[in-house]
């Protein structure tokens, strides 16, 4: 019951969304559809009239006596037809525009809403699953909007109109038709239900095959090395056979539905003809709204109406599957759009500033100097603090899931220009600390202050502007090398970008690329080596020029020579900034001001390289290779 209500809600929401996008076009389209549907049901009336005239006159063989009446009827019919054609042409065109426009706006809105979701959403949801909302779900929605909605509307209206005309002529014959329709609906429910059930199982079987194939193809070389081909073929056959069985069942149900409905229609057609014949021959009294007696001129168009009726019921049953799928897709799209966006109650902002005689004042133009603008609610004053890069954590606790603490009692400070390194095994909480600094996640307890300001008071955008990050997995975007560097600062000139590349040590390889800085990158820089990608991401952070940097070292092995270049790039980036380094190799941490050793979310050791070595604790063990970092 609950799901049904949810579905009803979804239909309404899809329609109101479309109406919101196209407040004029939508009603216009619906009007056109109604006109087109009603008009297309009317010919039966004219046919009845024309045949009635023929019935009366065919024995005379005098065409000229009746030509006027017949041609007038045909002419009026033609006018209706032209009206229907215009309406049909209009709604088909409008529907094409509305469908694509709605999909575009939905896509844009979904994408926009997605940009505003907290990182947590992306960490906890499968990326393939998010992606399928843009592909599969949008596609099924397209089917529903462009095909099913208009078809359902047309069919419903046609069925209603035809029904009215039918009882206008003969209630008895209408009852025969209704009985047939009930049979058709029952069959649709039974066969269609079976088909839906097996299609669902087919999708599941397909998912399993896909998963298996993906895993084996990923490790295809390993399969070869171990001569495991025959074994994997056998495994595959099992899954493939299940998929075959399920899909055969699903398609069988779907395939026989058409012929069954079609031929129930035929039988119905026969039954109507028989009943009509019987009624005519026995001259039974007719019951009708018009009060007309049953005649051939009624029976013949009635047969056509039966076809029309059955055809439309058939159409409706064809649309059932795509409506169900479309609604499921719409639900998932709305689900994404309804996710709680990232909250931001910060009011401290970052502004351009100027310092004269020790007093910091705000100014509109770029000065190269930045300050935090801190309005105070109590006394309505505004204070300015120079952006320096002083970061302090006080007794910070954090957990991703309730009762599973990841960080406990973390206190540390980094004065402007200092370098803090985090060391510890996987899962010790190194990366988590950086997630808290830029507020990808909010701390559970304790306080983090940036230049003396609680970071919860700082507007998130401004906080993130003041922090640079080089992540361990480099992500580059489709575009030129130059565009990728400029990502760090959108208004950077070419010269600034090149300067940043030089600082990062990336200029050397970029200039050797076929198109230099204009070389197109695609597929996350698939045409570059791992080291080159890292250099680009360093350059990207360099052009942003923030006072605080977070460097998450890459774990994947690159050769010593490239590693040295990357290291130099990182070192250049670090000078003059407050830096947090997450170390996966210990080579980078030696010259840090302080090294923090984490274990299960707690700081177990801290101090400089020399101090820690002298302690002969965990760090010493790591350093001497007695423990693995990863």
């Amino acid at each position: 019951m609950k799901t049904k209500q949810a579905k009803k809600g979804t239909v309404r929401r899809v329609l109101t969304t479309m109406l919101g996008f196209y407040p004029v076009m939508m009603p216009l389209t619906i009007a056109c559809i109604v006109i087109s549907a009603v008009v297309s049901s009317i010919p039966s009336i004219f046919m009845q009239n024309v045949i009635a005239v023929m019935e009366e006159n065919w024995r005379d063989g005098n065409w000229s006596a009746v030509s006027g009446r017949i041609l007038r009827l045909v002419a009026i019919l033609a006018v209706f037809y032209i009206l229907s054609l215009i309406a049909g042409l209009a709604f088909n065109q409008l529907m094409a525009i509305i469908t694509q426009g709605t999909l575009k706006k939905l896509r844009e809105r979904m994408f926009g809403d997605m940009q505003r979701l907290p990182i947590k959403y992306f960490d906890t949801n499968n990326h393939g699953d998010i992606m399928s909302r843009y592909t599969n779900d949008i596609d099924t929605l397209r089917q529903m909007i462009s095909q099913s909605f208009p078809q359902l509307l047309i069919s419903t209206i046609t069925v209603l109109t035809v029904f009215c005309i039918m009882i206008y002529y003969s209630v008895w014959l209408t009852l025969v038709v209704l009985a047939g329709v009930i049979a058709m609906l029952a069959v649709t429910k039974k066969v269609g239900g079976g088909s839906a059930r097996f299609f669902f199982r087919q999708q599941k079987a397909l998912g399993r095959v896909e998963g298996f194939v993906e895993e084996i193809m990923n490790g295809q070389k390993v399969v070869k090395v171990f001569c495991h081909e025959e074994a994997s073929k056998a495994d595959f056959d099992k899954l493939n056979d299940i998929l075959f069985e399920e899909s055969r069942r699903a398609n069988r149900y779907a395939n026989i539905l058409g012929p069954i409905l079609n031929n129930i229609g035929n039988i119905l057609y026969v039954l109507v003809a028989l009943t009509g014949g019987l009624l005519l021959l026995t001259e039974a009294p007719n019951l009708s709204l018009s009060g007309m007696a049953l005649s051939i001129s009624i029976a013949v168009p009635f047969l056509n109406m039966t076809k029309q009726f059955v055809g439309n019921i058939n159409q409706v049953s064809n649309q059932v599957n795509s409506v169900v799928m479309g609604l499921a897709g719409a639900n998932r799209i709305f689900e994404l759009m309804d996710e709680q966006p990232e909250q931001d109650n910060g009011y401290v902002t970052l502004v351009n500033a100027r310092e004269e005689n020790g007093v910091i004042t705000e100014c509109p133009e770029r000065t190269g100097m930045w300050a935090w603008r801190h309005p105070h609610q109590v006394d309505k004053t505004v204070t300015y603090t120079k952006l320096a890069g002083d970061v302090r954590l006080f007794d910070v606790d954090f957990e991703y899931e309730p009762d599973k603490p990841v960080l406990r009692d973390i206190s540390l400070y980094a004065k402007p220009g200092q370098k803090v390194a985090f060391v510890g095994a996987t899962g010790a909480g190194k990366t988590t600390i950086t997630n808290l600094l830029n507020r990808f996640y909010d701390i559970a307890d304790g306080k983090i202050r940036y230049d003396g300001i609680n970071i919860n008071k700082i507007k998130k955008d401004d906080l993130r502007h003041s922090l640079g990050i080089v992540l361990q997995d480099t992500n580059l975007f489709t575009g030129t090398v130059m565009e990728n560097i400029r990502y760090g600062k959108l208004d950077a000139t070419d010269e600034e970008c090149i300067a940043a590349a030089k600082l990062a040590g990336a200029d050397d390889f970029i200039t050797r690329l076929p198109e230099g800085y204009q070389t197109m990158l695609s597929g996350n820089g698939a045409n570059l080596s791992q080291g080159q990608r890292q250099l680009l991401s360093i350059a990207r952070a360099a052009v942003a020029d923030p006072p605080v940097m977070i460097l998450d070292e890459a774990t994947s092995s690159i050769d010593t020579r490239t590693e040295a270049i990357v290291q130099r790039g990182m070192d250049a980036l670090m000078t003059g900034r407050t830096v947090f380094v997450i170390a996966h190799r210990l080579s980078t941490v030696k010259n840090s001001n302080v090294i923090i050793v984490l274990d299960h979310g707690r700081i177990i050791e801290r101090g400089s390289h020399e101090e820690l070595l002298a302690q002969k604790g965990q760090y010493y063990q790591l350093y001497t290779g007695a423990f693995e970092l990863e």
Binding site: F46, I51, M54, W58, N62, W63, I70, L77, Y81, L85, Q100, K104, R107, E108, F111, Q115, I119, F122, H127, M131, Y134, V209, E214, K221, V222, V223, V225, C227, E229, A231, K233, D237, D241, R248, N251, R252, N255, I256, G258, P259, N266, I267, Y269, A273, G277, L281, I296, V300, R464, N475, Y487, G488, L490, S529, R540, S557, D559, T560, Y623, E628
Partner: protein
């Protein structure tokens, strides 16, 4: 292409042939029904008796039931035929890929192979269903309905000779105009989706640079573009329905006016009311079957691309095959490279390896070191014939590798690949890849040698611990040690470790090497490493540079004579993170 795909029909040939035959019966019956009804109508009109009426009724119902039966049977055989084809296509592709050589594998992206085996096969399956059912049904219906219309309506039926071509040309034009547009827009659509994927993956970057609005703007521009093209194509396609309507209406107006004229002026001799009604039914049948046909055509055209992509996989022939009279015995673990030149593809300009001459004695421990791109991995992949040499030869146990049975050779030459992978399943299941019959004791012994036993026993489920896909629930170092254990279980004559201990700490690394020295002294061991520490106790170390052997010697010799080796050594030891033991 069709021929290539048709090969996969095999056991479903019967169902594939039965379907069109059954469909034909169905169509014939369906076309005769209105004819009989016309007779019935006239019977009623001329005041025929009750018995006559019931007889017609019985005939008609039998025909409808038969038509239902044929239709349902056709639907069922069609499902068998098309799903069967899909099953065989998937199977053939999977089998073909299993027989690929490394060179073949390199040509395809994993994701593209997966799409080919799922989406593309589904498209072809659907098109095949259309082909043996609807594509037979529609033209048949068209012809039969026309024949019946001529039989019934005489001269009047000739109107269809005018209307049907008009509709056919109209539909043809629409298809002709929209197909290229759709092809273009689908490519753009793919790009749009690719950029969404990129955005999702890079969300941390987007957020840390505060680029949400920038991304939105970029996306909107692209979405706008796709939408404009889609709308253009869809609007042309939307002409189909009104065109169809126009034809139906034209026929109706014509039949009503000309039909009533004929009936009245001929006093019902040339045409009667029953025939008149049947004529209208046939006109509708003809036109809608034409409409179906145009849809089928579009579907099939769209599936052609998928078909091509499938055939690409099927027709890719493995570049490595077993020799005619293979040797099933590998004498020992000696290796000889004799004037070997190698490039990855015949069209590549640069040799990956050139002029390699090298002799390795059975049981020797060899270290290989060199920068990225120095072709260390290429060198060792020739030994187990993962690739074939371009010139020269590689001998194992005194025989050219191309003379061995592939499975024999690869069982004796175990390679732990650089990009190694564990599969979803328990640790035991993963280890059995090395030897399907390995006992628990053998597995434990191999894991002890690879220093994997300690952490495995630390797991609550021990050797039955379930490994997630790609080994996501074990650390990099643990994964590498499991991979080494897996290779050790093969009990090979030659064991090759391609940078297989990079994530293992130096102490454990040394322990593994020591264990191998102690427990499998007869096995030839080749170790590729980034760290000099991993190779310096080898019998000989090969320094690779730019696809050639730069030097061969012991650690001491190379330290004394080789520039590259010395440079690598000092860079690693000066940095201070490498501990010597």
């Amino acid at each position: 292409m069709m021929k290539e795909l048709a090969k996969s029909i095999r056991e479903y040939k019967k169902a594939s042939i039965a379907t069109p035959i059954l469909v034909s019966f169905e169509v014939v019956l369906e076309c005769i029904i209105p004819f009989v009804i016309a007779l019935l109508v006239n019977e009623v009109k001329s005041g025929g008796d009750m018995r006559m009426l019931l007889r017609y009724g019985a005939i008609l119902i039998v025909m409808a039931v038969l038509s239902l039966l044929f239709g349902a049977l056709a639907g069922s055989t069609c499902a068998t035929a098309s799903c069967g084809l899909a099953r065989n296509l998937r199977k053939d592709m999977f089998y073909a890929i299993q027989d690929y050589s490394f060179e073949n594998i390199d040509k395809f992206l994993t994701s593209s192979l997966v799409t080919r085996m799922t989406t593309d096969v589904t498209n072809v399956q659907f098109a095949y269903m259309m082909l043996i059912r609807t594509a037979i049904r529609s033209p048949l219906m068209l012809v039969f309905a026309f024949v019946m219309a001529v039989v019934m309506g005489g001269r009047m039926a000739w109107i269809f000779l005018f209307v049907v071509p008009v509709l056919a040309i109209g539909l043809g034009l629409v298809i002709y105009k929209t197909m290229p547009l759709f092809r273009k827009v689908f490519k753009k659509y793919d790009n749009l989706n690719a950029s969404i994927q990129e955005n999702i993956k890079a969300m941390r970057v987007v957020k840390s640079f505060v680029r949400e609005d920038y991304e939105q703007k970029k996306f909107n521009t692209a979405a706008e573009d796709v939408c404009a093209d889609f709308t253009k194509a869809e609007r042309i396609l939307a002409l189909n329905n009104p065109l169809m309507q126009f034809c139906v209406y034209a026929v109706m107006v014509f039949v009503l006016s000309f039909g009533s004229y004929t009936i009245i002026s001929s006093r019902g001799l040339d045409l009667d009311v029953g025939q008149f009604s049947a004529l209208l039914t046939y006109s509708f049948m003809m036109l809608s079957s034409l409409m179906m046909l145009s849809m089928v055509f579009v579907m099939i055209t769209m599936a052609v691309e998928s078909g091509k992509r499938i055939v690409e996989v099927l027709s890719e022939k493995s570049t490595l095959t077993n020799p005619a009279n293979p040797v099933y015995e590998v004498a020992d673990g000696s290796i000889v490279f004799d004037h070997v030149n190698f490039k990855y593809s015949p069209t590549a300009e640069r040799m990956a390896l050139s002029n390699i001459d090298l002799t390795i004695r059975s049981g020797e421990t060899i270290g290989i070191i060199g920068g990225t791109g120095s072709s260390k991995s290429s060198l060792i992949q020739l030994i187990s014939r993962l690739y074939d040499v371009t010139e020269g030869s590689v001998k194992v146990g005194g025989l050219d590798v191309r003379q061995y049975d592939l499975e024999t050779l690869r069982n004796q030459v175990a390679v732990v690949l650089q990009k190694n992978i564990l599969f979803s399943g328990t640790i035991k299941e993963n280890l059995r890849w090395g030897n399907p019959d390995a006992t628990d004791e053998e597995m434990a012994a191999a894991c002890q040698m690879a220093c994997a036993d300690e952490f495995i026993s630390g797991f609550p489920d021990g050797y039955d611990t379930y490994i997630e896909q790609g080994g996501a629930n074990v650390s990099g170092g643990q994964k590498q040690r499991l991979c080494i254990a897996r290779a050790l279980l093969q009990k090979p004559k030659i064991l090759i470790l391609d940078d297989s201990t990079s994530a293992v700490d130096t102490k454990t690394d040394a322990k593994i090497r020591k264990a191998m020295r102690t427990y499998i002294p007869e096995t030839t061991k080749i170790i590729i490493a980034q760290r000099t520490a991993s190779v310096q106790d080898a019998d000989r170390i090969i320094v690779m540079d730019g696809g050639t052997i730069n030097a061969v010697g012991t650690h001491a010799q190379l330290m004394a004579n080789n520039e590259i080796y010395r440079e690598i050594y000092t860079s690693q030891n000066k940095a201070g993170d490498q501990d010597e033991d």
